[in-house]
C-alpha cells in the first residue's frame, strides 16, 4: 500500500535561495510522524510547502496518490488536510467561539455541535473564554484555540507546527494523549516538535532535518536511542 502522504525530492523556498532541498519522507495512513531539527532547519517550511504556502521549486508531494503541487491552500482543507501554523495561528479579534466556528466553514463536520463539544471537552479552559477575543488569551490558551479550530473540520491529515510550544506539562501531556486518541479515529498526524523527546515517545516515525536536508529517519524509538541524534538535537546526555 502506498503512503497517505509522500514527499519526494522536495525543494522549496521563499523566492530567494531554496530553504529545503531534496527532502523525502512518507507518512503512512494512521500514523504519527514527527519532524525534528535545529532552529531554522526548514521544518516549518516543509509543512508550509505541503500546505501550499511556499513555492515548490522541485520534487513531488502526493496525498492519496494525487499530487498536491500547485493546488490552492483553501482547497486542501476540503480534501481533508488541516494545519496549525507555528505563529499567528488564531484570529485575534474573533471570539474563541468564532475561531472554532471558522474551522467548519471550509469543510463542515457532520455534526458541528457535537464536534464543538468534543473540542471543548479536550480544552475545558476555553469554556470560560468562549466570548472573549482570542487575542486576549494567554500564550497557551491561544495554542488550544488553534488546535481546536483545526479539529473542527474533522480532517484526515493534520499538519501541526509545534503544537505544544508554550503549553504547561499537564497540557503537553493532554495534547500528546489527544494525538494518540485522534489517531485512533483514523486521523494521520504530521507534526514538528521541539519537545522532541516526548514527541518521539508517541511518534511512529521521526524525520530529522538539518540545513534543509534529510539527516536521519527512523521509528520514534530508534531515534530516541540514537546517540548521535540525541546529542545533537535532543539536548545532550543520556536519559
Amino acid at each position: 500500500m502506498s503512503a497517505l502522504l509522500s514527499v519526494r525530492g522536495l525543494s522549496a523556498g521563499y523566492g530567494g535561495p531554496p530553504i529545503i532541498e531534496d527532502v523525502s519522507f512518507d507518512v503512512e495512513e494512521n500514523e504519527i510522524a514527527v519532524i525534528l531539527g535545529p532552529n531554522g532547519a526548514g521544518k516549518s517550511t516543509v509543512l508550509k510547502t505541503i500546505f501550499a504556502l511556499t513555492s515548490v521549486t522541485g520534487g513531488a508531494i502526493d496525498f492519496h496518490g494525487t499530487s498536491l503541487v500547485g493546488r490552492k491552500t483553501s482547497t486542501l482543507v476540503t480534501i481533508g488536510i488541516s494545519a496549525v501554523p507555528q505563529s499567528r495561528n488564531i484570529f485575534p479579534h474573533l471570539s474563541v467561539d468564532e475561531n472554532l466556528d471558522v474551522g467548519t466553514y471550509a469543510a463542515p463536520p457532520a455534526d458541528p455541535a457535537a464536534t464543538r463539544e468534543n473540542v471543548l471537552e479536550l480544552f475545558p479552559d476555553l469554556r470560560a473564554k468562549l466570548k472573549q477575543p482570542a487575542g486576549e488569551l494567554s500564550g497557551g490558551q491561544r495554542q488550544m484555540v488553534a488546535l481546536g479550530r483545526a479539529l473542527m473540520c474533522e480532517p484526515k491529515l493534520m499538519l501541526l507546527d509545534e503544537p505544544t510550544a508554550g503549553l504547561s506539562p499537564a497540557y503537553l501531556e493532554r495534547i500528546f494523549d489527544l494525538l494518540l486518541d485522534i489517531r485512533k479515529t483514523g486521523v494521520t498526524i504530521l507534526l514538528v516538535e521541539q519537545n522532541a523527546r516526548q514527541a518521539l515517545q508517541i511518534a511512529d516515525h521521526g524525520h530529522v532535518l538539518v540545513n534543509g536536508r534529510n539527516f536521519a529517519s527512523g521509528t520514534g524509538k530508534a531515534l530516541l536511542a540514537d546517540e548521535n541524534v540525541r546529542r545533537s538535537f535532543l539536548g545532550g546526555a543520556a536519559a
Partner: protein, 325 residues
C-alpha cells in the same frame, strides 16, 4: 537655437519643481520611510511654510498680516520653525495613533488648516491670495535667467536636506527609529522613548515640508489657496516616495524627479493629439498619468531604489560571513 534654449528653460522649470518635490519627498521619507508615520496631511505643513514665508517677506499691505519684509532666507527659517511647531502640536495629539489612523487624522488636520487659510482673511487674505512675494536675489536678476538662480537656490537646499536626512538615516537615531517603526512594544522594552522619537521625526519632517512650501511660494511669487491642492501636494508626494523607494533618501529624490517629469511631460504629448481630441486631451492626460502610475507600481515593487540597511563604516568586509547555502 531658441528651440534649444526654450527646452533648456523648460528643463530648468522641471528641475525647480522637481527639487521642491524632492524636499517634500525627503521630508516624507524621514516620517514614513524611517519613522513609519503615515502623514497624509503634507499639504497642511507645506501651506503653513508657504504662508509663513510669504507673510514674513512681503511688503506692508492692508489686506493681510505682514509688512515684515524680511530677507528670504529668514522666511525659510521662519517657515521651518512655524511648520515645525505646528508639527509638534499635531504630534502631541496624534503621534500615538497607529499608521492609518494617523493618516486620517493628518488629512483632517490639513483640511482644517486649509479652511483656516481660506477663511481667515486678516491673516492670509483668504482666497484672494498674497502677491508680490520676492525671489532670492530678485534685485539682481530678471526674466528667465532668474530661474537659473532660483534653481541653484532650490537644489542647494535639497542638498542640505539630503545630507541631514542621510545622516539621520545612517545613525543610531535612525536605526532606533526604524526599530520603533517595526515594533513599538519591543522598542519600548529596549528603553526607547517611543513618543519622543516619533515627535522628533514628525517635527523634523514637517519643518522640511514647510521649507518646501516656502520655496514654492517664492517660486510662484504669488500664493493663494490654489497652491494647496492635496492632489498635487500630498498625494503626488506619496506616489513619488513609493515609486522612488521608501526608506531610501536617494530613491526619494529619484522618485520626485521621475514622477514630476512624468506628470509634466505627459501634457506635451497629449497636446500633440489630433485636433478632434483637443477638448479631451487633458482628460486623456489624467488617464495616462493614472495608468503610468499603475505601471510604475507594478514594475518597481519595492520602489526604484529599495530600502537597504545603512552600511556600518567600521566593519571589516572580510569579517562578513558568506551566507550559508
Amino acid at each position: 537655437m531658441t528651440e534649444l534654449s526654450g527646452l533648456f528653460f523648460y528643463l530648468v522649470s522641471v528641475l525647480i519643481a522637481g527639487g521642491i518635490y524632492a524636499l517634500l519627498c525627503l521630508a516624507l521619507n524621514i516620517q514614513w520611510g524611517m519613522g513609519g508615520l503615515f502623514n497624509a496631511g503634507i499639504v497642511g505643513f507645506f501651506a503653513i511654510g508657504a504662508y509663513t514665508s510669504a507673510i514674513l517677506t512681503t511688503p506692508e499691505t492692508a489686506k493681510h498680516l505682514g509688512g515684515f519684509e524680511l530677507p528670504i532666507f529668514a522666511g525659510l527659517i521662519g517657515a521651518a520653525i512655524i511648520a515645525g511647531v505646528t508639527g509638534w502640536a499635531v504630534a502631541r495629539i496624534c503621534v500615538r495613533l497607529k499608521s492609518d489612523y494617523l493618516a486620517m487624522a493628518s488629512i483632517g488636520i490639513a483640511e482644517i488648516l486649509r479652511l483656516v487659510i481660506v477663511n481667515e482673511s486678516w491673516l492670509t487674505n483668504g482666497s484672494l491670495g498674497i502677491s508680490g512675494i520676492p525671489r532670492p536675489f530678485g534685485e539682481y536678476t530678471a526674466g528667465r535667467p532668474a530661474d537659473l538662480v532660483f534653481l541653484a537656490y532650490v537644489w542647494l537646499i535639497v542638498l542640505i536636506v539630503y545630507l541631514v536626512a542621510t545622516r539621520l538615516y545612517n545613525s543610531p537615531w535612525g536605526r532606533s527609529l526604524r526599530a520603533i517603526r517595526d515594533n513599538e512594544a519591543s522598542a519600548a522594552a529596549a528603553g526607547k522613548n517611543v513618543e519622543r522619537f516619533r515627535t522628533q521625526t514628525f517635527v523634523i519632517g514637517c519643518a522640511f515640508m514647510g521649507v518646501a512650501g516656502a520655496l514654492s511660494a517664492h517660486y510662484f511669487r504669488f500664493l493663494s489657496p490654489s497652491a494647496t491642492d492635496p492632489l498635487l501636494v500630498t498625494f503626488l508626494v506619496w506616489v513619488m516616495l513609493m515609486a522612488g523607494g521608501s526608506g531610501n533618501n536617494r530613491g526619494a529624490i529619484v522618485g520626485a524627479l521621475g514622477i514630476w517629469a512624468l506628470w509634466s511631460v505627459t501634457e506635451i504629448f497629449t497636446n500633440r493629439l489630433p485636433p478632434e481630441w483637443a477638448t479631451r486631451s487633458s482628460f486623456i492626460r489624467m488617464l495616462l498619468v493614472g495608468l503610468l502610475l499603475q505601471y510604475v507600481l507594478q514594475k518597481f515593487r519595492a520602489g526604484i531604489l529599495p530600502e537597504k540597511s545603512p552600511p556600518l563604516h567600521f566593519e571589516d568586509e572580510a569579517e562578513r560571513p558568506a551566507p550559508e547555502k
